[in-house]
Symmetry: C2
Subunit: 233 residues, 2 copies
């Protein structure tokens, strides 16, 4: 049994109940078997902070009931996943209009529209194109096969988990993190390699926010950058 | 007599020798008298770090020879100011071409060209426009009336001078600066109001660079940001 703000790492394989189609997984071999392997993705257990609401409700709810090492297969109805399908989100457009934008639609093609919304082409017939703006998983019951791999035990583990989330696994070990004995102060030194990263400041901000929200609500979180001659030679 | 890396504050009135025209000053009343008052500018003594090369050579050279409280009028020839005029930088363009860009040129109009260079319109005759890409002060002998108002005495004063330069006079007093007794460490805490300023990181970088270059070459310069609940509520 886990509780709010626990940092739980899970492996999972997720499929659509009706079709058996696997659409997401944290496990490299499973991704390859299902033909959804993405070589830009790092396959590793996923961090879920309970109560954060960053994963679908049905998955998060189930995790509260589990324990480290446990494996479980759960069925998640649409209302606890990507919602019901909305028939009003299926719209018809003229083929000419899409062609003008240089798009030659075919069934199941995914389109990112100029307003940023995403649609799936359902059919192209007689100069008319039917587009579905529903989430591709809306209306689907999902099956998640989950394994709880580990849980972050200490505050230090949790702070490092957040640094990994916002700065990447290749950078996390370059930070030093010190938590005072009374847990009132967290000192984080930023590695020099990151000083000129474009969005350093916003990453520091969200990391600090999550440390205070999920790990040490009463702490002062210090981010320290140290410069000396060697930075400028 | 000053030396390299001294932080000297000066007031000045600068004019063109030939015409007597005042083109720059640090003194509000003088700016008003000369009709060059700019209400976006804060009139106050200018910081010159000797050896930095951020002001014209003739001015910097003269400052080395002065002392606090001293007033002096100096004459600076073009080669120690904005250089000689280069006749090859005077070019002719068709009026039509400028009109196409929506520009209606008239004599003495300043133009910022599409490549970023700045030109002054010398004449507009018979469909042809003569543009001068020389610096407006090129070829001019300048007269500077200078007063050395003060000099930053301590390392702390100098660090604050640099914070003022890069973060503005309205922010400088919100920083706290601590220099260790052995001068090996400078700790600067960044005020919370600045955490989400777009270019905070680059301002920190240039400030640290100048502290190490001009004030404490062997120090570690720490910039510290502290977050706690109050940042996120």
């Amino acid at each position: 049994m886990f509780k709010d703000k626990d940092f739980v790492y899970i492996d999972y394989v997720a499929k659509i109940k009706d079709t058996g189609e696997i659409f997401d997984t944290t496990i490299e071999e499973e991704a390859k078997k299902a033909n959804i392997y993405d070589n830009e993705k790092i396959y590793k257990p996923k961090l879920v902070i309970l109560g954060e609401g960053a994963v679908i409700k049905g998955l998060e709810d189930a995790l509260y009931q589990m324990s480290v090492g446990e494996e479980k297969e759960i069925e998640i109805p649409p209302e606890k996943a990507y919602g019901e399908r909305d028939p009003n989100k299926v719209k018809t457009m003229s083929l000419g209009e899409l062609r003008k934008q240089g798009i030659r639609p075919y069934p199941n093609m995914m389109l990112r529209m100029s307003n940023g919304s995403i649609a799936v082409v359902k059919s192209v017939t007689g100069g008319r194109v039917v587009l579905d703006y529903n989430h591709p998983l809306a209306g689907r019951t999902l099956i998640y096969k989950i394994k709880v791999v580990k849980v972050a035990e200490t505050e230090l583990d949790k702070v490092k988990a957040l640094l990994e989330r916002y700065f990447g696994s290749s950078n996390v070990d370059k930070f030093t993190v010190e938590i005072s004995n009374d847990k009132k102060e967290v000192k984080i030194t930023v590695p020099k390699e990151l000083y000129l990263v474009e969005d350093l400041q916003s990453r520091i901000y969200v990391t600090a926010k999550d440390i205070i929200t999920y790990v040490l609500p009463d702490a002062n979180v210090l981010f320290i950058e140290t410069f000396n001659k060697s930075n400028f030679s």
